[in-house]
Amino acid sequence: MKLVFERSRAGRGTQYLPENDVPRRLPKAQLREKKLHLASLPETEVDRHYTELAKQTHGVNDGFYPLGSCTMKYNPQINEEMAALPGFTKIHPLQDADTVEGCREVCDTLEKYLCEITGMDAVSLQPAAGAHGEFTGLLLIKAYHRERGDVKRTKIIVPDSAHGTNPASAAMAGFDVVSIASDDQGCVDLESLKAAVGEDTAGLMLTNPNTVGLFDPNILEITRIVHEAGGLCYYDGANLNAVMGIARPGDMGFDVIHVNLHKTFSTPHGGGGPGSGPSGCKAFLAKYLPGKGAEGSIGDVRSFGGNFLVAVKALAYILSIGREGIPAAAENAVLNANYMKEKLKDIYPLAYDRTCMHEFVICLEELKHQTDVSALDIAKAMLDHGIHPPTMYFPLIVHEALMVEPTETETKETLDEAVRIFRDIYDEAVKNPEAMHEKPLHTPVRRPDEVLAARSPVIRYAFED
């Protein structure tokens, strides 16, 4: 496909502005000399360009999207219409408080609901994504220990199964990361945890259900061990979809959390963002929250109050599904995952064969060993069937991993059809392993050379003049 710059012809374009109605004035000096290359296209060409690009993009509405740990549920249309109301989009963030009471109400209402769903006492909507929320929550932990003069607490404990953002956020917040091993069930190894905690423990970061899709049954013991050592407990809300309305992180012993509005609360992911990662905490940490201007706050983690329009969408979602719909969504997410797991596990070996939460992990080490067909090959084969493949090679503690998260918004027929495709692909892998390395066959491009991309980076278009 042509780049927008390759479609460009000098002199073409559409005029969107009226004539300048005041005398032309530019600063007298410091003006640009370097030519600015932008595409020159009439609107018809712009429209077609992006329509073609959209056709080469797989969204939730294009087909099944069981991308583990990403909760690719349906994004309801009413959310979009509400976020597009001029009464929201045309509001300047620095308007006086008495002119933005509606925005305030959106934020206050959503904060209140999120507190109720998570068992926290206060929430800030300022963090713009999950990782941003992690960073924010860890700064709360840091500020808390600092204020108490407990400066020797410099370590954050993170299970080896954690998302990469957890250790990266801890490092950004100035902590040393202590990685602890998981047990043979993929859960926190209590002995390792006990050995790791001490006077230098600032806190523990945990995802629960964890990254292998299991609810850690020792959760109360885990948070107790950390608290007794003087640390705080951080809940990574990436997997909240499995338990919302069923159990609350606040009741499990967590002190600080973030939730992902773009996963759990149905706001779309936009091909990478914008998301929203509100931070929540118990009352004793509330004054440290960002964006509230409270005495003792850690300050701001971004400009203004957060990704407001994303908050509008999440609020529309919660209002739509209500107090019955929240646990029902969780239950059906868990049911759909277990249903697929049960229909696949006779041929696709499970990393942990027990009741899963909203996602499950397949381990293809044996297949790889016997046939040289890898998790990547299996994933690539799915592309020919209109399915977005599961998450590959994560979590790191499972080799040749495929992580499947169907979500609650898929029908039984979709799951049955996906199961059939998964099984057909497996059969083919066993019968004709060589052919698997060639997959996919029917996509616009196939198996890009990622080594070339990284060795000789070309990350912008080069204009001729």
Binding site: E450, V451, A454, R455
Partner: protein
Amino acid sequence: MNFPKELKYTKTHEWIRFEDDNTAYIGITDYAQDQLGDLVFANLPEEGDELTAGEAFADVESVKAVSDVLSPVSGTVSEVNEELADEPQKMNEAPYDAWFVKAAEITETEDLMTAEEYEAFIAEGR
């Protein structure tokens, strides 16, 4: 796999070629590059940085992984192979030409293996 006799080797798969007692070139072995797959970049130290035996002084990136490179000696970086930035494939294609740094003022050396010992060490590991 190729393990030149004139080099010494570490258990963490670096090679070292001594110019004299105080100076040496350091790189990663043929076995290391084979295990790591296609390497796309090396993060190198700067001239004048200190090297500590047994500690990481560089790392190498493949598309989906990053691995530390440990120094077999304590000393100072006297030269850095800037060519690796432009031609990272050299680490795969000619690992013993693709030196990372030249170490000078060497004060301490890890336990090193000869080519034979290293080959045996790898065979054992398999």
